[in-house]
């Protein structure tokens, strides 16, 4: 019971931390490089704990993200839904990939996500983003092994602690 609650805390805590990282200020030059932390967290949990991080969760998470960044409500929901759906579909394969292949999968997922953003922005009449827009998925790919190994390690520790 206690262990289960700890796992739940880790689950919620990782998303809270992802939100804070997403909002964290950076020097102007580094801003476009910021990876999509919330997306990374969702990919991880959709692979590891699909019973918690399902489509409904992705939807609500996206609404929370949009409220935080003051964007069009539902934009991030749509992006996270697409992300979660693809991950859940290929979960059986993804979870047995070595880390570098998972990183490549994340790159593909995040590039796809950028296309989803372009579609939404196109429909809502917002101007098209500059070329730096496409750098962030690469950084997401680089950050992915770090995040996955870190959270894996934390989970193992929590499991071993009692």
């Amino acid at each position: 019971m206690n262990r289960r609650r700890l796992q739940l805390w880790l689950f919620a805590g990782s998303f809270a931390f992802a939100f804070l990282l997403q909002l964290m200020p950076l020097p102007q030059v580094l801003l476009p490089l910021k990876p999509w932390w919330i997306g990374l967290a969702l990919v991880y949990w959709a692979i590891e704990a699909p019973e918690r991080a399902g489509l409904g969760f992705a939807f609500l998470l996206g609404l929370a993200g949009d409220a935080l960044t003051g964007e069009l409500l539902g934009e991030q929901s749509l992006r996270l839904l697409v992300l979660a759906f693809i991950v859940l579909r290929f979960r059986a394969r993804l979870r047995f990939f070595p880390v570098w292949q998972q990183a490549l999968a994340v790159l593909a997922l995040f590039l796809n996500d950028r296309i989803v953003i372009l579609m939404v922005r196109g429909f809502s009449g917002a101007p098209m983003p500059p070329p730096e827009f496409w750098i962030s998925p690469l950084l997401g790919m680089l950050a992915c092994p770090l995040v996955f190994l870190l959270v894996d390690d934390l989970r193992l520790r929590l499991r071993g602690s009692d």
Binding site: P25, Q28, E75, S77, L81, F85
Partner: protein, 311 residues
């Protein structure tokens, strides 16, 4: 919910139907939000939860700044102090000169029977250091509705126009910078008086002026001021300086690029203008004045005595 055992090897555990339902829901929410108003209540409720998160996210950078001040050497502080004192001296000298000008101006305006002079009432605010979206130029301020803010208030810093308030939460507000790709500000070229519009470019140190008439007299280095048209920004604040001029794609207009005057990516403190600029246009008509209702008597049909007399 599904059971745990079912997910181990099953391939298509997430139904396409559920995806479609959720996607449709997201699209509906987006359309409702884009059309405005419908989700105001939701947004306002959410803002209660949002503010603490902003403060929390800005906390590390605040701590970093505080530590930097704490460990700054005496030397640095002394030199910074000296620099600031010099600036203050300079500013005060300018103010003295301005005082006389203001006095002269009021006298002249009195002669012209101008209605009121442009008294600047400002409010001081600090930036909350969070990054909402690197491709939209929005910043967060630490004052909100409880401090009397309203959507549309212009935001300036020491050197020029920064932007305007686009969203007000109880204790926080969100500013759209002049360089945001969806922002536009009516400007006038200081040297020639040519009016045009400066659009945000999405790059923090550039404004675009895409439609200057070919015959318009604009040179590199010309200062741009707010023109006061549009009724959002008061007239006469520096907006930027022309950096380069070229022809636009159609060849019908000259297109210029300008550098914003305000230190958009460096200002930590900003000023909010409290007085909305005077509405543009002729004064509103006098209220109709007639005899008091009891004296007017029954007039012909359709002609009612005007306003009831005020006590």
């Amino acid at each position: 919910m599904r059971s745990d055992t079912a997910t181990l090897f099953a391939e298509g555990t997430v139904g396409t139907l559920r995806l479609i339902v959720y996607l449709a829901l997201a699209v509906v929410v987006m359309i409702l939000d884009h059309r405005g108003q419908y989700l105001e209540v939701l947004r306002r409720t959410a803002s209660l939860a949002v503010e603490p998160v902003y403060r929390l996210a800005a906390f590390p950078s605040q701590v970093a700044r505080a530590t930097r001040t704490a460990v700054a050497t005496q030397d640095q502080l002394a030199s910074e102090n000296r620099e600031l004192r010099e600036q203050l001296l300079l500013a005060q000298a300018r103010l003295r000169r301005l005082d006389t000008l203001v006095a002269q101006n009021t006298r002249l305006k009195g002669l012209l029977e101008a209605q009121e002079n442009l008294g600047l009432r400002v409010q001081f605010a600090r930036l909350v250091n969070v990054d909402l979206d690197p491709f939209r130029h929005r910043v967060v301020l630490d004052v909100g509705a409880q401090q009397g803010l309203a959507v549309g208030q212009p935001v300036i810093d020491a050197t020029g126009v920064m932007g305007q308030i686009v969203e007000v939460l109880p204790n926080t507000s969100i500013v759209m910078l002049v360089t945001d790709p969806t922002h536009a500000v009516p400007v006038v070229v200081e040297r020639t008086g040519l009016r045009t519009i400066a659009y945000g470019s999405g790059v923090i140190d550039r404004l675009e002026l895409p439609n200057i008439p070919i015959s318009g007299d604009v040179q590199v280095g010309d200062k741009l001021l707010t023109s006061g048209l549009g009724g959002r920004f008061p007239a006469g604040f520096p907006v930027g300086e022309i950096q380069s001029i070229s022809n636009d794609a159609s060849g019908m207009f000259a297109a210029a690029l300008a550098t914003p005057a305000a230190a958009l990516d460096r200002s930590g403190e900003v000023l909010l203008l409290r007085d909305q600029p005077q509405p543009y246009g002729p004064p509103s008509p006098e209220p109709p004045v007639g005899p008091p209702a009891e004296l007017a008597g029954p007039g012909p049909a359709g002609v009612q005595p005007g306003e009831p007399p005020s006590p």
